[in-house]
Amino acid sequence: MYPSKFDYVRALSVDDALEKIASDEEAKFIAGGHSLVPLMKFRLATPSLLVDIGGLHDLSYIKDEGDHLAIGALTRHTEVEHSQLLQAELPMLSYVASLVGDPQVRHRGTIGGSVAHGDGASDLPAALLALDASMIAVGPSGRREIPAKEFFKGFLETALSPDELLVEIKVPKGVSSWSYKKFNRRAQDWAIVGVAAVKNGSTKVAFVNMGSSPLRSTGCEDALRSGATIEEAAERAAEGIEPPSDLNASSEFRVHLAKVLTRRALEELS
């Protein structure tokens, strides 16, 4: 299967990447390409120009910056999985990265690519949403920080504008406990439903594959804030959420899974 025809250029720096992406309205960045190339092979994405940022090795890092960790957008899943710093400070992120695809996919795919792709069925975006991460983007008008809660907009849609490049992900430290529950039927599959629960002061709960983008469970979070028991909070997990039906699960089954997985995740937190 071949993608439709496109032109291809390599970015030599972040500034060069921004200049090149601005030269063509239908251009897209490519890093590891493990979200984009499959879409292009199915012709669901048909960019006319690919700007390859794969050579910008300066964007691959994991740094301790005091109250948060900074992860370069080009950091591959396998590096997130095996980073000693992340395993010590934010073990949930290493664990979630270890569940993405399979080893070959994790060798190529990048955290920035997964986030910029913004797939509601992906593990890392929901985990970052529960962790209250924020995304650093640079564009023609400079650098800006976008909280995860405002970043994921809809089906494969994020707050990034077409001429902006995601360069870093900031994740707050101070997580006292966490749980990630991924429900799928076969190895290497996407989650039918996934739940990320994080205790960092208050408790945050985010869902994988319960909508067109990663979602926070406001029902569950509100319940916990007002002193509800785990059972009561889990019962409200899918409040206001209408998950899609597909070959793997009906909408009703997803709601059921969300409640069960949320209860299990909250039990692990306490």
Binding site: D52, G101, D102, Q104
Partner: protein, 157 residues
């Protein structure tokens, strides 16, 4: 555009379209047909090769992205005199293949797995090969072969 890379220690340069997939560059432009195309959707792992020492699915890498990379395919494992690599020999001795279609990908994924994971056990091998499908369902002997080879290569716990 011109794309050059080292495959099994030999430098190649070919003029290809940017949409050329790495697996087709290897199979059709260079002529090394040991690497198979299976599902063509990064699920089955038949097209697995090593890119700078790490397993990748070459149906999901553009050849242009591999510019300057060092690629190892199944043809690059045996000694020049034909002596098989410990993994190849283990697959043969443990009956780790039936129809053989998944084998090149299984062997390359296993090589990456063994190199990255000292102290492999059965569970780790099964999980580590989750990206490779064998439709003959010969997993039991594949896992046996990988453990035997890991032992021989001196990296088993």
């Amino acid at each position: 555009m011109k794309v050059s890379m080292k495959i099994n220690g030999v430098e190649y340069e070919r003029d290809v379209e940017p949409r050329r997939l790495l697996v087709h560059y290897i199979r059709e432009d260079v002529g090394l047909t040991g690497t198979n195309v299976g599902c063509d959707t990064s699920s089955c792992g038949a097209c697995t090769v090593l890119m700078d020492g790490k397993s990748v699915k070459s149906c999901t890498v553009l050849a242009v992205q591999a510019e300057g990379a060092e690629i190892t395919t199944i043809e690059g494992l045996a000694e020049p005199d034909g002596t098989l690599h410990p993994l190849q020999r283990a697959f043969q001795e443990c009956h780790g293949l039936q129809c053989g279609y998944c084998t090149p990908g299984m062997v390359m994924a296993s090589l990456s797995l063994i190199k990255e994971n000292p102290g492999l056990d059965e569970r780790k091998v099964r999980e580590g090969l989750e990206g490779n499908l064998c439709r003959c369902t010969g997993y039991h002997n594949i896992v046996k072969a990988v453990l035997q080879a890991a032992d021989e290569m001196g990296v088993k716990a």
